[in-house]
Amino acid sequence: MNRNPLFLAALFASIAFAQSTPIAYTGAHIIPISGAEIADGVIVIQNGKILAVGATGAVSIPSGAQLVDAKSKVIMPGIVDSHSHIGEPEGGDASSPIQPDVRVLDSINVHAAQIEKARAGGVTTANVMPGSGHLSSGQTLYLKLRKGNTIEDLLIKLPDGSNAGGLKMANGTNPRRAPPFPGTRGKAAALVRADLIKAQEYKAKVAAAKGDASKLPPRDLRMEALVEVLDGKRTVHFHTHRHDDIMTVIRLSQEFHFKVVLHHVSDGWMVADEIAKAKTPVSVIMIDSPGGKEEAKDLSLTTPARLEAAGVLFGFHTDDGITDSRLFLRSAAIAVRAGLSRSTALYAMTMANARILDLDARVGTLEAGKDADFIVLSGDPLSVYSHVLETWIEGQKVFDRGDPHDRLEQVGGPGASHDQNPFWTDDDGGGEEVQQ
C-alpha cells in the first residue's frame, strides 16, 4: 500500500538482487518429488536457488541463515500447470484457422487477478495458451509467475535467448466453423498436413540456401514457427478430447516427427495403451461431470489411473478459467479418488509437467541447484482442508495467506477479481525486508 516512489524503486531493486541471506524452513513434512517424502525435513534456499533438502540433522544449515519454523507444515515444489489461460492471453483472430505466427506474448496482462489467484493456488510455472477455436491459435508461453510489471519479467529465457513456449493446436469440434475453418475432422487434418508440408519445403529452401541471403526464401512468420515445430524446438500442445481425435494427433505427430503433448483427453481411458505405445505425453484435465460438449461426453475420472497403468507420462492442468487455479491440487486428489497412486498424482502436478515443458532441469522437484520454487501448505496436499500458506518463486515470496490482500485473492470476496494495482505491490513482493 506504500505509494512512495522511492519505496517502489527500492522494492524493484530488491527483486533484481534476489535473496542473498539463506533461508531455512525447518521441521516441515517435505515432499521433494525426486525421492521419498521426508517426515521431518529442512529446505535451505539462497540466491533464488535451492541449496539443500533433506531430513533434519542430515542437512547443514549455513550460519546466518534466517530460520523459519515449519513444524506441522508441508512443503512441496511449486506447482507447474501445463495448460492455463490466466492473464487474458489472446491468440489468432477469425481470419484463418492456422495462425502459428501469433504470439500470446503480445497480449498478456501481468496484472490480471487470475495470475494472483494462480499464485494463491501454489502455481509457480504455467504454460499460458491461446484458445482452442483454431487448428492453431498461436504460440504459447511458459511463464514463471513472478511479481513483475511487464510480461518480460515473467518470461523463461532458454540458452539460445528465445522465450520458452510451445504452439497451440486443436482438433475435434472447437475449431469447426464456416470456411476457411474446417467443417469436418478430415478437413481439419488435411489443412494441418498441408501447412506442415509447406513448412517442410520452406525448411528445405532455407537449408539449401546455406546461409546465402540471396537464396533464402522471403521470411514467413507462420513458416518459421512451424519449422521450429518440425525441428523439435517448439512443442505442440494439442487440444484433443475424443478417442479418434487423440489418434489423429498421434498420426500427425508421427508423420511429421513433431514433439507433442495431448491435452484434455476426455477419452484418454479408451486409448491409454495406444498413447503409451506412441510414447506421447499427456496433460489431463479433471472435470466434475462428463459432457458439457459432445466430445467430452465420455469423460472419466479414471483416465489418470488408466494412463498410469499404461505407463504414460502425464501431468494435470487447470485450463483456468475452466477449472480454478486456486483449487488445482484438487485435480490430483480427485484422480487419486478414482484410482491413481498418490506419488504419481503429486508427480503429475510438478515434475511431469516440468518434463512436458522441458523445464525439468530448473523446476518440478526440490533438489539442490534447482530454482527455489516451492509452496508451504497447512496440511496434506491432497486434503480438501489444506490451504496454500505461501508460494515462493526463485527465492521470492509471491503469495502469503497471512497478507490480507493475498488472502482475498485466495478465498475471493469484494475486489478479488479486480486487476492487481501495480502500486499495491507490497512489502512481501521482494521476499526480503526492504529498507526505506
Binding site: D288, S289, G291, E294, I322, D324, A333, V384, Y385, P414
Partner: protein, 406 residues
Amino acid sequence: MKRAVVLMALSTAAALTLAAQNLAIKGETVYTMAGAPLRDGVVLIHDGKIERVGVASQVKIPSGYQTLTATIVTPGLVDAHSTVGLTGYENAPTSQDQLERGAAIQPELRALDAYDPQERLIEWVRQFGVTTMNTGHGPGALVSGQTMIVKTVGHTADEAAIVPMAMIAASLGEDGRGEQGKSPGTRGKEIAMLRTEFIKAQEALNKSAKPEKPEAKTPDRDLKTEAFIRVLKGETPLLVTAERARDVISAIRLAKEFNFKLIIDSCSECGMIISEVKASGYPVILHASMKRAGGETENISFEDAAKLAAAGIPFALQSGYEGYVPKTRVILWEAAIAAANGLTFDQALASITISAAKLIGVGDRLGSLEAGKDGDVALYDGDPFEYTTHCVGTVINGKVVSSGKF
C-alpha cells in the same frame, strides 16, 4: 472397455427395479443430522422408510434384513437447486430444456413436462450420494418457469417427482434481461414488469374472493396469473436468482411489497449485505462454492457460506446451473469447499441434508435419519468431504441404487 460400461449401466438399472429391501445400515459414525452423531450406529429401513436409528448395542437387527456397512453414514444428499434432468450432459440444444426464450415471464412452464429421468447426469450425481434435487427451469429469463423436487430415481418424471411444483424461478440483473433488445432491458424494467404481474394477480385474486354478482361466471383461466396467485397466497415460493447485492435488495423489496415467500438464490455478493439479508428473514440457497468468479459473480467467495452461517441466516448449498463444463457440479464437492473455508463439518453437511430439505419444504420427510422419514442414505468410506473419500453406496426409499466406489 465399452462393454464393461454397458454392463455396469445394466446392473444399475437392474438394481433400480428391485423391490424395497429391509436394510440395516451400519456406520462407524452415523450423522443423523437430528442430534449428535452416533458412534457405531445403525439405521433400520423397513418398507422404504426409516424404522429406527440408534447405536448398534441398543438396536437389534431383525432377521431378514440385508446389512450394509460403511465408515460414515449420512442422510441422502439434498441438492437445493439444480437444473439436472432439464439440462442434459451432451449440452446439445435438444437436451437443454431449462430455458425457453420466447417470453420474459413464463411461470406456467412446468418442470414435470421437461424432466428427463433417464438423463445420465442424474446417475452421475446419485453415485456420489445425491438422492434428492430441487430441479427445473434455470436462470436466464425474468421468470423462466417452475422447479420440482425429485428423487434421483424413477422411470418417469411423475415417478421421480415428490413435489411436482416446488418453486417459481426468477432471475434479476444480467440474467433477467431479455434477448436482443426485448424487454426487460434494464434492472428498473425487470422490477416494473414483475410488479405489474403481481398487481394483476392481486386484482384477479380479489375478484375471485369477492365476486360482484354471485351468478357471475368464473373468469377465463390464465396459467400465468394462476402461478402468480400461488406465489401471492404463499403456496409457492419465488426463487430469485440474483448475484449483485442491489438485485438481492430489490428482490427483498419486492417480496415485502407483495408479502410472498422469497428464496434468495445464488447471491454472489451476499457477503456484502449480510445484515440486510439477515434482517429480511428470507432464506438463501447459496451459489455453488466453486462457481466461477467473473462478471456479476466477480465478488464471490469460498467463505460466503461461513458468513451466512455465522450470521444465523438459514441457507443451503446448490449445484446450480452450468452452461458449459462441468455440465453439473456435485453438491458433495461444493459443500466440501465450504467446509474447508470456514463452515464446520456439521454446518456443511447440514447445508446439503437437513437444512436443504427444510429450505425446500420437505424437511418433514427428508434430510435426516429419523424414524418415519424416507429411507434415503449415503455411505462413505471416510470423511465425505475429503477429496479422496469414496461414496460406497446410495440408498433411496430403502433401495440400493448405487454401490461401488465413486
